[in-house]
């Protein structure tokens, strides 16, 4: 909490804390999952995807899956500065949380969670982009999380938005990347967990793949799960990724029709 004074911003009091409530909801402490009301455990949250909203960017996408809201823009290919000659292009991914995106306020430059999400998204996208077509160039992918509901959902939705934005920018790719998360809760596999659900999970998996080519581009597993549970998670995720692929393709098609 020390030296939070930043002369480049408007500063508030030295120290402030989020409000403390008398009756904290029980489920943040207990480990019993609350049954889903509006969807089955094998269902993902409905996706709203809109390419091309950010007119200043070469390509962009906005994705909303219930409470998770993410905007993504792509700039480039543009000249790589201050780097040695490189035959392959560089894919640069930056993720930022809006200060109001989580339960607690995200003061600028306080933690490194955004960087780990950026790495996960970059790894998911790298095998899909034909970087050898862009020597000496950088493709910048900027992601802003406006509202977060589970870090796994942020990575998955962020990767979908980023891949859509790359396609919207006309960057050469091998295929569209889609991504889905699953959690092992008690003995079951719950697809696309919310924050609350992943708090009660034994382990989670985020799987990114190119369904059109049948290739997995990234998988990120944390927590405890048996190999058979892991394989079951992969199966569940790759099935949903195929569904998401048609949503993304349709979204891109619609926006391309609107433009002409």
């Amino acid at each position: 909490m020390q030296s939070t004074f930043d002369r480049r911003r408007i500063n508030g009091p030295e120290e402030s804390l989020p409000p403390v409530f008398i009756s904290e909801p029980q489920d943040t402490f207990s480990n019993t999952p609350v049954a889903r009301k509006s969807r089955k455990v094998s269902d993902i949250r409905p996706i709203f995807l809109q390419p091309g909203l950010i007119t200043q960017a070469n390509g962009s996408a906005y994705i909303e899956t219930e409470r998770t809201k993410i905007a993504c823009s792509v700039y480039g290919p543009r000249q790589s500065k201050n780097t040695a000659y490189n035959e392959k292009g560089k894919l640069n991914v930056e993720v930022k949380f809006a200060p109001f995106s989580c339960e607690h306020r995200r003061a600028p430059l306080r933690d490194a969670e955004d960087r780990s999400i950026a790495v996960a998204i970059q790894q998911a996208l790298l095998p899909s982009v034909q970087l050898e077509h862009f020597p000496k160039s950088t493709i910048d992918v900027f992601v802003i999380i406006l509202e977060a509901d589970g870090i796994e959902g942020c990575i998955a939705s962020g990767a979908i938005a980023a891949s859509t934005a790359l396609a919207n920018a006309g960057i050469d790719m091998y295929g569209l990347v889609t991504s889905c998360a699953a959690a092992v809760i008690e003995a079951d596999i719950w697809v696309d967990p919310t924050q609350e659900e992943s708090n009660t999970a034994n382990g989670t998996l985020v799987l990114s793949c190119m369904p059109a080519l049948g290739i997995v581009t990234n998988s990120w597993q944390t927590g405890r799960m048996t190999p058979s549970e892991l394989l079951a998670c992969i199966d569940a995720c790759s099935g949903r990724c195929t569904d998401i692929h048609s949503v993304v393709a349709q979204g891109l098609l619609n926006s391309a029709h609107d433009e002409t």
């Binding site: 408007i10 804390l17 409000p19 007119t55 809201k69 809006a98």
Partner: protein, 329 residues
């Protein structure tokens, strides 16, 4: 420069009628010309009494057409105490308010804090890079802090227990799409987000030196409340640019902004009284106008630039207020 005069530039919007291939070519030509000669591009449009995005010029200040469309959407972000999304044309700003509890300042023991900040992330425009706030963001935050600190929200209403506990409202705005006139959009987003805030009931317990809040809906005797906002003092911003000492352009877009000699911001309250005015630059040159060959001699053009902007802003305020009230209720 004059040798390569292309035929009058056709804005992309009207291009759909001819065969799409030819239209695409024309649009590309126009885009390249704009990129190479932005100033001449804008001049040619203004000669035809129209702006590059199809708006009319403010000369006979009747029109709502001189301004871009405004959309306001409040309360869509559930993690914030209050939030608003504002779009002016393509410019998009999201603002969220986070309420936290702190100890009041020793000098003002019965006042809370209002902390507005703007972020211009690399996402919103190619001219920004990732990293600490740019100079533009710092200036913008400072300007908004001054305008919002004018008493619209009495800081004493944020006090929970004098000297011990008070609310601090972090008003953070993030620009998603930077297409000019970010100041007006951000101010509107901040005002609408503040109007949307619900503060939980809070009481200070001196025995344990802690402030305890009640979740809304748990105890009907301890309801959450809206902020105490002085409706008379709510600021609304209206920005103008002056191009080539001769044209007043309300609500400048990102392609016009770098070409402007003067930028003017008028801040009005809801009764159209002027709260603040800033003018950077000289304004319309009346000398130039009198001798200018092709400008008509209407009395309004001869008047002082600032006075004209204020009257344009007042005309616009009525329309804007209608819009805001529509979405807030």
């Amino acid at each position: 420069m004059a040798s390569a005069r292309p035929s009058p530039i056709i804005p992309t919007a009207t291009a759909g009628k001819t065969s799409s291939h030819v239209a695409q070519k024309e649009a590309n030509k126009a885009a390249i010309f704009q990129r190479l000669h932005p100033r001449i591009y804008l001049e040619r449009f203004l000669e035809e009494k129209i702006r590059p995005d199809g708006r009319s010029i403010a000369q006979n200040d009747e029109g709502d057409n001189a301004w871009r469309n405004v959309e306001v959407n409040v309360g869509s972000i559930t993690t914030a105490s209050g939030s608003a999304l504002v779009r002016i044309g393509n410019t998009t700003v999201v603002c969220g308010v986070k309420a936290e509890i702190c100890e009041p300042d020793l000098d003002n023991p019965s006042e809370g804090f209002l902390v507005p900040n703007v972020d211009l992330p690399a996402l919103c425009s190619p001219k920004f890079k990732p990293g600490p706030p740019t100079e533009e963001a710092q200036v913008l935050s400072e300007k908004l802090n001054e305008v919002l600190g004018n008493g619209m929200l009495p800081l004493s209403s944020l006090c929970i227990h004098s000297g011990k506990s008070a609310w601090v409202l972090y008003v953070d705005a993030t620009v998603i799409n930077y297409d000019g006139n970010v100041f007006d959009a951000t101010l509107l987003a901040m005002v609408c987000a503040l109007k949307n805030v619900m503060l939980p009931h809070a009481s200070y317990d001196p025995d344990v030196n802690r402030t305890i809040c009640t979740r809304p809906g748990v105890d009907p005797t301890k309801p959450s409340r809206k902020l105490v906002i002085q409706e008379d003092l709510v600021p609304y911003g209206f920005s103008f640019g002056v191009f080539a000492c001769s044209h007043i352009l309300p609500d400048p877009s990102a392609s016009e902004e770098p070409l402007l000699d003067t930028s003017i911001s008028i801040i009005l309250d809801s009764h159209a009284q002027v709260l603040a005015v800033s003018q950077l630059g000289a304004g319309v040159d009346t000398e130039y106008e009198a001798s200018g060959p092709d400008l008509d001699d209407t009395p309004a053009r001869k008047a002082d630039t600032l006075a004209e902007c204020i009257s344009l802003a007042r005309n616009r305020l009525a329309i804007l207020l209608n819009k805001v009230y529509d979405t807030m209720n």
